[in-house]
């Protein structure tokens, strides 16, 4: 029987459902035979069993080798970092949030981290106590504050409703995750300049030793990264087709290439259209960056383009998965 491995995915929390959607869109749909069970399968990755875990437990399970791969938030990975872990992809493109330092709005003398360092010193000198910070991220918070030369602080570990801590009175400031800042504002708190500890999103992690030891695991990882990389790359592109009148393929190509936005990944494909009467027509096919869609369409129109069709690109496969190549380099393994 071939070797089987475990992919840990978040079972609940804000990134659980987006993870399911992300994998589905990447062509890696997770089937869960029994919604009450914490296991599943991905038909395109037959050597992987899916195990649903809490976001923090995904990190623990991958670090201790119970699972070999996992998807969770980068903030949780950094907070619970272990040298057994390796980050295979740190920008899966969803679950964005920032871990920030937030202070009471009434602290109008504090706009940046330098001001906060002075307040920490003043609190120490005036009240003979440390600045109290409520957070569920004690490790990242400690690193960040020491790095910014703030040493006199006490971490108040809390679970949930962190943003209420200064109002209740058991902390002076907080370090918490925020997406829009609304919750901070509602609690009379404000982020400060230079106070973003980490900009987080969903990431794919692996167990370093397991990936080093097992070529079968590396192969499953390669397949997974092929789909993920190609799907993420595809999001940036549209495929355009347009019918253009012209004397020759060379002439049409030259007109299309007049504008850099319609250059395509390499160059446009020009095919003759058969069955038209009178003029010679060609179909131009090219793949363009999503950000230049309208500019490209406008250019095709100006050179006589008709029937411009734009289709989203599902995958762009390059020569190889860049993330997998980076993984091999990180593990010091040859391809």
């Amino acid at each position: 029987m071939s070797e089987m491995f475990t992919l840990a995915l978040p079972s609940k929390g804000v990134i659980a459902e987006p993870t399911d959607t992300f994998l589905k869109e990447a062509g890696l749909k997770v089937s869960k035979p029994n919604p009450r069970q914490y296991t599943g399968k991905i038909s395109r990755l037959p050597a992987l069993n899916v195990l649903f875990q809490r976001v923090k437990d995904v990190v623990y399970k991958v670090a201790d080798g119970t699972a070999q791969l996992g998807i969770t938030g980068l903030d949780v990975v950094q907070e619970n970092w272990s040298d057994n872990l390796i980050i295979l992809h740190d920008k899966l493109g969803y679950g964005h949030c920032d871990l920030v330092v937030a202070v009471p709005e009434a602290w109008v003398d504090v706009e940046n981290i330098l001001d906060l360092a002075r307040v920490a010193q003043d609190v120490r000198d005036t009240y003979r106590r440390n600045l109290r910070i409520a957070t569920t991220f004690p490790n990242l918070t400690k690193q960040f504050f020491h790095k910014h030369h703030i040493h006199h602080f006490t971490i108040v570990k809390s679970e949930g409703a962190i943003e209420a801590a200064p109002t209740i009175g058991y902390a002076d400031i907080i370090v918490d995750l925020t997406q829009s800042g609304t919750t901070l504002r509602e609690n009379h708190l404000k982020p400060i300049r230079g106070g973003t500890i980490t900009a987080s999103q969903a990431c794919l992690i692996g167990n370093r030793a397991a990936l080093r030891a097992s070529s079968a695991l590396r192969e499953s990882t390669r397949l997974m990264l092929e789909y993920i990389d190609a799907s993420l790359s595809g999001r940036d592109y549209y495929q355009l087709t347009a019918d253009i009148r012209g004397d020759s393929p060379e002439q049409v190509t030259a007109r299309v290439l007049e504008n850099p936005t319609t250059r395509g990944l390499l160059a446009p494909t020009i095919s003759p259209i058969h069955g038209t009467t009178g003029d010679t027509w060609y179909t131009v096919t090219l793949t363009i960056k999503q950000s230049v869609l309208l500019t490209a369409v406008e250019h095709l129109r100006t050179i006589g383009g008709k029937h411009v069709i734009a289709l989203p690109v599902k995958y762009v496969f390059y020569e190889q998965s860049r993330s997998f190549k980076a993984l091999l380099e990180a593990l010091n393994l040859a391809e």
Binding site: I113, D172, R193, G194
Partner: protein
């Protein structure tokens, strides 16, 4: 040589030169070390709590020695030596390193600086490391120059030990008090403070008085873009400069101020170098590196490090005249050094004492 023999050999060596033994506690209140710690020390300090009090395993000997001196109300200069394990945290566990050194407390004289640096050189020669290079820097001169830019001690420390670029950016962003008289910012500040009174919004454990003082302090430290550029130019010069034993006049000529205190700092530094040369330290083994950084920001004067050909810091120290005030409220002129003994033991061990310069 085993650790015990090495320690004994050094203890005899220092004792013969007038340094008596000081036993330093392994565990102290963490605050003692956090007071003037750098990020590297604070981050790696092995701390633990007992009955709500935070303790730490000693990461060095100097702060504890000064605390001992202050409590003992000594009147005359004291020469102490110490040795033993010091600790830092690595992956949640304490990691120990062997250290030894001396402190000369209660003596502000130039000769005390020379005695300590020369003694470090002699101790290294005694241990067979006479070929190391002596790097000399000066924290006091740097701080004085920063004060001439109108920066207070807090900002000077941040510029010296935290991120220079970030600190500069934030100084430029600080609003000067003059813009608070008429602008929207004034009404915003008043409204926020009034709201906090009306609706009981959190003050985060600070009073309105504290916040007004904070506004004044940050406003006083505001510098404009032009001043920031001048300051950056000075910081770049200070950081990049590296010269031989005779290069101090060149450095002095590059300084942006030449007031009496600056001259006094430079004259004393030059006298220290001359005295070290007279003591037999070869000129080719001396390098001036003004921004020589140490893991502690309590240094106030001439600082030094002995570095071998591999870039390993074998010993370092310097003058730290403010530490007495910080730990005990009295001014105590002081200087000293520590030897990083793991580099002298036969088995190579991992060390954090890599070249900091």
């Amino acid at each position: 040589m085993h650790a015990l023999n090495l320690r004994k050999q050094l203890a005899d060596f220092f004792y013969q030169r007038g340094y008596t033994w000081l036993e330093v506690d392994l565990v102290e209140h963490a605050d003692l070390f956090l007071t003037r710690a750098s990020a590297q020390i604070a981050e790696n300090l092995y701390m633990f709590e007992k009955d709500g009090v935070t303790f730490a395993l000693r990461p060095e000997f100097t702060a504890a020695a000064m605390s001992h001196y202050v409590r003992g109300a000594y009147q005359t200069p004291i020469r102490w030596q110490f040795s033993g394990y010091i600790f830092q945290e690595k992956h949640g566990k304490p990691q120990q390193m062997l250290s030894a050194g001396i402190e000369l407390l209660g003596d502000a004289a130039l000769q005390a600086d020379v005695e300590v640096i020369a003694l470090a050189a002699q101790a290294l020669a005694h241990l067979g490391k006479s070929e190391s290079t002596l790097y000399l820097g000066h924290v006091g001169l740097h701080r004085h120059i920063l004060r001439q830019f109108g920066l207070d001690a807090f900002v000077a420390r941040m510029l010296t030990h935290a991120s220079q670029q970030l600190t500069l950016e934030m100084l430029v962003q600080s609003s000067p008090i003059s813009t608070l008289n008429t602008t929207e910012q004034t009404s915003h500040i008043l409204n926020v403070l009034l709201d906090s009174t009306r609706y009981g919004a959190t003050m985060g454990g600070r009073s309105r008085h504290d916040i007004v003082n904070g506004i004044l302090a940050r406003s006083a430290q505001h510098i404009d873009e032009a001043a920031a550029q001048t300051l950056k130019g000075y910081l770049d010069t200070w950081t990049a400069f590296k010269g031989d034993a005779h290069s101090l006049p060149t450095l002095t000529a590059l300084l942006p101020f030449s007031d009496e205190t600056t001259q006094a700092f430079c004259n004393r530094w030059q006298a220290t170098i001359d005295a070290l040369l007279a003591q037999g330290i070869a000129a080719e083994h001396i390098t001036l590196q003004p921004n020589l950084a140490h893991s502690w920001d309590y240094y106030t004067g001439c600082v030094f490090a002995f570095v071998d050909d591999n870039g390993t810091v074998l010993a370092n120290g310097g003058r730290y005249d403010e530490l007495g005030y910080i730990v005990g409220g009295i001014e105590v002129p002081a200087t000293g050094f520590a030897l990083h003994l793991e580099h002298f033991l036969p088995r190579p061990t991992t060390s954090s004492h890599q070249k900091e310069a």
